[in-house]
Amino acid sequence: MFRRLPDPGALPVPGVPVSLDGVPVMARAGDSVAAVLLMAGRLACGKAPVSGAPRGPFCLMGACFDCVVTIDGAPKRQGCLVTVAPGMRIETGRKAR
């Protein structure tokens, strides 16, 4: 699981309202979609294509594709490479190919 460090003395970072599987979630400016998943306790966000085993963010630098989710209706987006924007819709549960 994950938590956000307190940031004493820093300027307040604007909240970014997004939805995760239809549930409103407040992200922070600069967060990636993968960070939103992890902060929401979603270690898994999809299924492996062959066995259906649960998978979740692994490398967070665009290499592994285990954090792919549907973003604003566009399927198979790498969550770690997309920065949140207000109103963004994030849907987990990648389908097997």
């Binding site: 699981m1 994950f2 938590r3 956000r4 460090l5 940031d7 004493p8 003395g9 820093a10 300027l11 922070r28 600069g30 967060d31 990636s32 960070a35 992890l38 902060m39 270690l43 898994a44 492996a48 294509p49 062959v50 066995s51 085993a53 649960p54 998978r55 979740g56 963010p57 692994f58 490398c59 967070l60 630098m61 665009g62 290499a63 592994c64 594709f65 285990d66 792919v68 973003i71 604003d72 209706g73 566009a74 198979k76 987006r77 770690c80 490479l81 997309v82 920065t83 924007a85 963004m88």
Partner: protein, 479 residues
């Protein structure tokens, strides 16, 4: 973005930023294509938006990146963030045409950027760490943990176990501890035998800039965390997500409860783009990875294509910056901005910096070359994460006659998933080499093709088509 640039730099870590800065200073029209949202690469990731308290936790080496980012911002080079390069092709006029996927998630489209020269500064990836259970949710890389810390100030919670080898693992432990994050254990997989092998390079290491920092780092972590040395047979297990880390150490088998396992065993050059372009690569046995064949300027076997930074061989951020500088000077010379004498004179400072940055690395590289068992797995350990291909399946394919990675790919789809071998390529090469009892050099690597990053059909359809191109493929309809 405009018609034709003098140089396109791909990647915005220290190598790419330094290359772009120097290129722009030599009046070259320069564009930087960056997959990230802000300049800095992974090492200086989110530095420009990071708060002071977070910078203090991440450390001085991170904050030092401000200089290279500021210089880049003042250089006049064009910066394109969120830009995924998926193809490059040499046009008839000799320019390189670069396919870039760009735009918000639901409206991405493809654009082409043309440039007379290309500097690949795509950096490094974490070396695959194929152990049983490494695909479980809650098992991530140490690099991933650093990305979360740098970009969002997010850290792990619960029982956190770090495992592997290499400076980044110790650095992350130290950063977590400084941030008040409890680390249950650091499992050091560095084999004891490596210490003796590394010994010949020890004197250079002691004289290097790395020595004092490394000693202080390891000491400060050891004081605060349970460190278990000589760890073998590392494995993660749990239904649905990680619950337990098992390992052998000191003659016994141990198990730790864990909510988060962070793995790391060094970094290796990211070679996908250069390989797909057709640059020659060779096996570096000391580092157990492939590196591009480059000259003293980073020039590859393709005219007008350079590799700078860790993508040309792992040497760290300072060396990356120096090599970016050198590649840009070579491009400035090749495009007639400076003569060879001016190029060589300007290269003296970055060459000296490069020598300084490389001193002592042989010791670290030898010490931290991961054990064979962690690079060449056995049994039902997953090798290819995307297609869930196991080590035994790869071995069986070799026994059935597959001589190299491309045949293994054809047999098993191994390396054919969206990551395109980034997480399994080295493992497959070494597995095949081990099984065939030949060198990885002989076995080679996956043949990489465009697109090196997946694009959607919608993106492909957004590519404009000329009337000439249409005539080339459209047949007259039959009567």
């Amino acid at each position: 973005m405009k018609g034709v640039y003098d140089v396109a730099v791909i990647g915005a870590g220290p190598a790419g930023l330094a290359a772009a800065t120097v290129a722009a200073q030599h009046a070259l029209a320069t564009v930087v294509l960056d997959e990230q949202a802000t300049p800095g690469g992974q090492i200086y990731r989110a530095l420009t938006t990071c708060s002071a308290s977070r910078r203090a936790i991440i450390g001085d080496d991170y904050a030092r990146g401000t200089a290279v980012i500021d210089a880049f911002r003042q250089s006049g080079a064009t910066y394109v963030p969120d830009a995924t390069v998926w193809a490059t092709q040499r046009r008839d006029d000799g320019c390189w045409e670069i396919g870039v996927s760009h735009g918000p998630p639901a409206a991405r489209n493809v654009r082409f950027v043309a440039a007379r020269a290309v500097i690949l500064a795509t950096g490094a990836l974490e070396r695959p760490f194929p152990v049983p259970g490494w695909t479980l949710p809650g098992v991530m890389t140490a690099g991933a943990a650093q990305v979360l810390l740098k970009s969002s100030g997010i850290v792990g919670k619960g029982r956190i176990v770090l495992a592997g080898t290499g400076p980044l693992l110790w650095l992350l432990a130290s950063q977590y501890l400084d941030a008040g994050v409890e680390v249950a254990a650091l499992l050091d997989t560095t084999p004891h035998s490596r210490r003796w092998r590394a010994l010949p390079g020890a004197w250079e290491f002691v004289r290097s800039p790395y020595f004092a920092r490394a000693v202080a780092l390891v000491r400060s972590v050891r004081r605060r965390v349970r460190v278990v040395g000589g760890v073998s047979a590392l494995a993660a297990s749990g239904p649905g997500r990680i619950e337990t880390v098992q390992f052998d150490a000191a003659g016994g088998t141990h198990a730790l409860r864990a909510d988060l396992l962070l793995l790391h065993q060094g970094v290796v050059p990211d070679i996908n783009l250069g390989r797909a372009m057709g640059c020659a690569y060779r096996w570096n046995d000391a580092h157990a990875c492939f590196e591009p064949v480059v000259d003293a300027w980073g020039g590859t076997t393709l005219a007008g294509v350079f590799v700078a930074g860790d993508g040309a061989g792992i040497a760290g951020a300072d060396a990356a910056q120096a090599r970016g500088h050198l590649a840009a000077l070579a491009v400035a010379n090749a495009l007639g901005r400076i003569d060879a004498r001016a190029r060589d004179a300007a290269a003296m400072a970055p060459r000296a910096e490069l020598r300084r940055a490389l001193r002592g690395r042989a010791f670290l590289d030898t010490l931290q070359r991961p054990a064979d068992t962690y690079r060449i797995p056995r049994g039902d350990t997953i090798v290819c994460r995307c297609e869930e291909v196991t080590a035994q399946q790869v071995i069986d394919a070799v026994k059935a006659g597959a001589p190299g990675p491309n045949q293994v790919k054809a047999f098993l789809r191994c390396g054919m998933g969206p990551c395109q071998g980034r997480c399994c390529g080295l493992t497959v090469t070494e597995l095949v080499a081990c099984e065939r009892k030949v060198s990885p050099s002989e076995v080679g690597y996956f043949r990489l093709r465009w697109p090196v990053k997946p694009i959607t059909l919608g993106e492909a359809a957004s590519i404009g088509t000329s009337a000439e191109a249409m005539r080339a493929v459209v047949r007259d309809s039959p009567h």
